[in-house]
């Protein structure tokens, strides 16, 4: 009886708390880094969702892959992801991080076709670059995914 109470109520509270305070690191590559910077700015505030920018992967829950991943950087991205402590989530922002985008495998020789070839991705946000509202939409979808709810955001 006590175990069921723990799993249901306290588990829900912990999931709610985790999703509302996702501290993130963003791998600022080329174009989408500007949009994530604007999302952090004062007009589209990312901090009201509880997201605080971090530099150290051990202190972060969320990895925002904004921009393309090249073959040279792929082992370093995997290293960054493995240094994060569980529970950890990944948000792939931009067409290049989803599937290669304009630098897809038939046009570019040095870009990995999507960040999910290297690390497991939870939410993909399409766009080139996606608007800050789209990035916030993706973040809310991630929050609902963490809480285990059905999302109306994708």
């Amino acid at each position: 009886m006590a175990g069921a109470f723990y799993l249901s109520t306290i588990g829900q509270i912990m999931k709610w708390a985790r999703s509302r305070s996702l501290w993130y690191i963003s791998t600022g590559t080329a174009c989408c880094a500007d949009e994530v910077l604007d999302t952090m700015g004062c007009r589209y505030d990312l901090e009201r969702f509880g997201c605080l920018p971090q530099v150290d992967p051990r202190q972060a829950d969320l990895l925002i892959v904004c921009g393309m991943v090249s073959y040279k950087a792929a082992p370093h991205l995997k290293n960054l992801y493995e240094n994060m402590l569980a529970p950890k989530y990944v948000l792939a922002v931009g067409a290049c991080a989803n599937c290669g985008g304009p630098f897809s495998p038939e046009f570019s020789y040095s870009v990995v076709a999507g960040a999910d070839q290297i690390i497991p991705v939870d939410v993909f946000v399409p766009g080139c670059p996606p608007r800050p509202e789209a990035i916030m939409n993706g973040l809310i979808a991630l929050q609902e995914k963490i809480c285990g709810q059905e999302s109306s955001h994708f």
Partner: protein, 184 residues
């Protein structure tokens, strides 16, 4: 600016280097075709030219044209605002071989990153007078492409790799709603 005095001065100091003088595209800049092995002496003559000191190498570009590499040097003078274009050509012996050109980085040190780029992308090796290449000298050892990359990407006969470091270079396309348009 009348380029003929410059060409006649170059012919006196470095005889046999200048092969042909043409217009560069549709602009008034002259493009001088140069004999490959004399590019270093010609570069020194241009840099120390009394009338127009060409001390700035603005751009170095390599173009592949039907198996022949054309290397173009865009020179500019910060003192007199003259511009000139030098061109070399080098024939590719076989599709996978490299091409060796004398390096100009001792004359214009800003050529180092551009020559390194050309070596990685096209396989055009720039050799300094001592016999070492640009990539072995100075800080140019570090490359743009990852370690272990095969082939020279910007050549026309380059085939994209199927995978690299166990990451496949392809994306399975599923449920394509809109049929793919081919370019006619």
């Amino acid at each position: 600016m009348d380029k003929n005095p410059l060409i006649s001065r170059l012919n006196k100091t470095v005889p046999g280097a200048v092969l042909e003088v043409r217009r560069f595209g549709r602009s008034p800049i002259s493009s001088i075709w140069v004999e490959t092995q004399s590019i270093q002496r010609l570069g020194e003559a241009l840099k120390s030219d009394p009338e127009c000191k060409f001390d700035w190498l603005e751009n170095l570009s390599v173009v592949e044209f039907e198996g022949v590499f054309v290397i173009t040097y865009f020179l500019r003078s910060t003192v007199t605002q003259h511009t000139v274009v030098l061109r070399l050509s080098a024939v590719l012996a076989s599709p996978t071989s490299e091409v060796v050109i004398p390096s100009v980085w001792k004359i214009w040190p800003m050529a180092v990153p551009m020559e390194k780029d050309a070596q990685e992308m096209f396989g055009v090796v720039f050799k300094a007078p001592q016999g070492s290449t640009t990539v072995e000298d100075s800080d140019a050892k570090i490359k743009i492409l990852p370690e272990g990359w095969d082939g020279f990407p910007l050549r026309k006969n380059y085939v994209f790799p199927k995978e690299f470091i166990n990451i496949p270079h392809s994306r399975p396309v599923v449920n394509r709603a809109i049929p793919k348009k081919t370019i006619q």
